[in-house]
């Protein structure tokens, strides 16, 4: 509190001096740093824990209780094939979701924003209501749908029950209301004249969407891709419910399997796997954030 109160005060006293501005900024930084300290402590523990036998607070302990006990044993799982397959499955689900949700949301959002057709309003309210249903409520119904999908000849083996495709399909469906509404919002904000101009210039509807409209909503696409990837990467409930056996386990499910009810849990190993799961996400986030910033800074400033 003191921090946030002091900042405007110092500005009020010397509004025209550069010093006032600087002090204000210093306080702002101090506030930000203070507020991320708990999170930083958490991550610090995570890193320390993965590298030690046992921890007490932030201090690693060895078997005798002294400081030390550095070990790489918690990371042994890296040489195990299971984690790589889990990671690959997580990746497949996340990428399939980004692609599926991306295509359906950008095209559906555009149509809902621009075209008049019977049932448009009902569809919009319908998706919004569906979004309010928690996935848990639908699990049993989805199970039957997936079983039925599995029975389809040729492709059934890829999108049915107990397949990565099936999990991705369910996750895409659950994510779509958000995606479509998000993209519709972005398209709604665009002026009509630009696409009218393109139509008069000789473009087809599809070309207008692809070459003129999509580039204007890149920030929206990037944001949606980011949300969707994270949702797919961290997906637990749906994969846990609809996949049985290690063949199609993804990272969160794998992590949960380490915390079994019967054997004592090695929390340091759990921490290591958790950290491992985060690494691609951090990389992906850095990449997308850069892109987001670029798009905003490059700006689609114009009419």
């Amino acid at each position: 509190m003191t921090v946030s109160q002091a900042a405007p005060q110092s500005q009020a006293f010397k509004p025209k001096l550069m010093g006032g501005k600087k002090t204000g900024r210093r306080f702002a930084y101090a506030f930000l740093i203070l507020s991320i300290v708990p999170i930083l402590i958490g991550y610090t523990w995570l890193v320390i824990a993965t590298l030690s036998t046992r921890t007490e607070g932030l201090l690693p302990r060895d078997a005798e209780g002294g400081i030390g006990g550095f070990t790489l044993r918690n990371w042994d799982f890296i040489s195990d094939g299971a984690i790589w397959s889990a990671m690959f499955n997580s990746f497949l689900i996340a990428v399939a979701m980004v692609i599926g949700v991306g295509i359906a949301s950008t095209s559906g959002g555009y149509a809902l924003s621009r075209f008049k057709f019977p049932g448009r309003k009902a569809f919009l309210t319908g998706t919004l209501v569906l979004h309010a249903f928690k996935a848990e409520m639908l699990l049993i119904a989805i199970f039957f749908v997936l079983r039925w999908l599995g029975g389809i000849p040729l492709i059934g083996g890829y999108i049915g029950f107990n397949t990565v495709g099936g999990v991705a399909l369910v996750m895409i469906a659950l994510e779509l209301p958000l995606g479509i509404w998000l993209m519709k919002g972005f398209f709604d904000a665009l002026p009509w004249d630009m696409e009218r101009a393109a139509l008069i210039d000789g473009a087809s509807r599809f070309r207008v969407w692809w070459q003129i409209m999509l580039p204007q909503v890149r920030p929206g696409i990037a944001a949606l891709a980011l949300f969707t990837f994270i949702a797919g990467w961290n997906a637990y409930l749906v994969p846990f419910t609809f996949t049985i056996g290690t063949k199609v386990t993804n990272m969160p499910v794998f992590l949960n399997q380490l915390i079994s009810d019967t054997a004592p849990v090695n929390w340091n190993q759990v921490a290591a796997v958790g950290l491992f799961q985060m690494i691609p996400l951090i990389i992906f986030f850095l990449f997308t954030q850069e892109l987001l910033l670029n798009i905003y800074a490059g700006g689609s400033k114009g009419t």
């Binding site: 002026p191 004249d193 630009m194 009218r196 101009a197 393109a198 139509l199 008069i200 210039d201 000789g202 473009a203 087809s204 070309r207 003129i212 580039p215 204007q216 700006g299 689609s300 400033k301 114009g302 009419t303």
Partner: protein, 366 residues
């Protein structure tokens, strides 16, 4: 290309955008659409472009009905009020877009874009992003994009309304010159009467979706066929009075409580046959302050008192009252009109307009 609109209408459940518009545009002519905001100018333009589907009526190009023809096959170019440029492309990207869609070969695209850009005076800006251009430059890009595909019909939707007065003046001349040089049939939507008067071969005046008049610019001004047109065309607007036409000792007089003016025979006769009560219209520039230099003719003067003086630069726009009647008069600045002065006004009654108060149609011009 000759453009004909026949009974063209557009409505969105209840809202009327355009109502039964019929007009012919001769090949190579520039027609201005003039009218207050919301009267359906853009709606009509977008129907010609093929963006809006008419609710009723037809659009024909050279005698062929194009109602069902897609915008891309109509060979029209359009300049939007908002310019509607593609912000993620460069100037070159914008101007070349129609040609790239037509898959014209690279070499030719380069050539044609450069030529159009040079004509617009933006040849050196081709690599710029749209956001790095001034409003006037953006306007030229948008004009260039419309021209590059060599359209047979050009549609302008208030293209100059975002520019400053000076630039508007230059661009006005430039657009007119290009349009004439290329001989492209054009529709030019504008709020600005001067723009319409100076650029157009014919002017269509619209109000509330209805075509009020379609005439040569000078006819609209000198021979307005309806009260609306008389009041809308001309700035500052025409003054109107309710008067009764009476014949007395061989001549006609327009009379009300405050007014008594001798009307020229030819005009008064046409009106008097129809009715006693009429609406009389006099333009602010057809009323003078009487001074010693030019003695007014008999029966054309009234005394008035000055209520407001708005300096317009070269002239003063003076609001005066004659009894309970108010009117606006353009007065030379050198006359030094001052609020509160009592003055003698002389009317140039050879230009007086007379309207039927009920039908609001002119009693003079059919």
């Amino acid at each position: 290309m000759r453009v004909e609109l026949d009974g063209l209408s557009k409505a969105w459940d209840g809202v009327v955008g355009a109502d039964n518009i019929t007009l012919d545009i001769a090949d190579g002519d520039l027609v201005a659409f003039l009218g207050p905001s919301g009267c359906g100018k853009t709606t009509t333009l977008l129907m010609v472009a093929g963006i809006y589907k008419p609710t009723a009526g037809t659009i024909s190009f050279d005698g062929v009905v194009v109602n069902e023809v897609a915008p891309k096959d109509r060979h029209v170019g359009m300049v939007f009020q908002s310019y509607a440029l593609y912000p993620h492309m460069t100037v070159f990207g914008n101007i070349s877009y129609p040609l790239r869609i037509q898959k014209v070969n690279k070499e030719e695209i380069r050539e044609r874009v450069q030529k159009v850009a040079d004509m617009m005076g933006i040849g050196h800006l081709l690599d710029r992003k749209i956001a790095q251009l001034s409003g006037g430059q953006q306007q030229r890009v948008s004009l260039g994009r419309a021209l590059v595909k060599e359209p047979e019909v050009l549609l302008f939707d208030e293209p100059l309304s975002n520019l400053d007065a000076r630039l508007r003046l230059t661009m006005r001349g430039e657009i007119k010159r290009i349009q004439e040089d290329l001989g492209i049939t054009s529709i030019y939507v504008t709020h600005d009467q001067v723009e319409a008067m100076t650029m157009a071969d014919k002017i269509a005046v619209m109000s509330e979706g209805v075509l009020q008049a379609y005439d040569l610019p000078e006819d609209l001004y000198d021979h307005p066929k309806t009260l609306f047109v008389a009041g809308f065309v001309g700035n500052p607007p025409m003054n109107f009075f309710d008067v009764e036409i009476m014949s007395s000792n061989g001549g006609f007089h327009a009379k009300s409580e405050a007014i008594d003016l001798a009307l020229p025979d030819d005009r008064a006769q046409k009106a008097a046959v129809a009715k006693g009560n009429v609406v009389m219209g006099v333009r602010p520039e057809d009323v003078y302050l009487v001074d010693d230099t030019a003695p007014p003719s008999e029966g054309s003067t009234l005394s008035a008192s000055i209520e407001v003086v708005e300096p317009l630069g070269r002239e003063d726009l003076v609001g005066v009252t004659i009894g309970d009647v108010q009117l606006r008069v353009l007065v030379d600045k050198t006359k030094g009109a001052r609020v509160g002065d009592n003055v003698e006004l002389a009317f140039d009654l050879s230009k007086v307009q007379l309207f039927d108060p009920e039908s609001e149609k002119s009693l003079l011009w059919k």
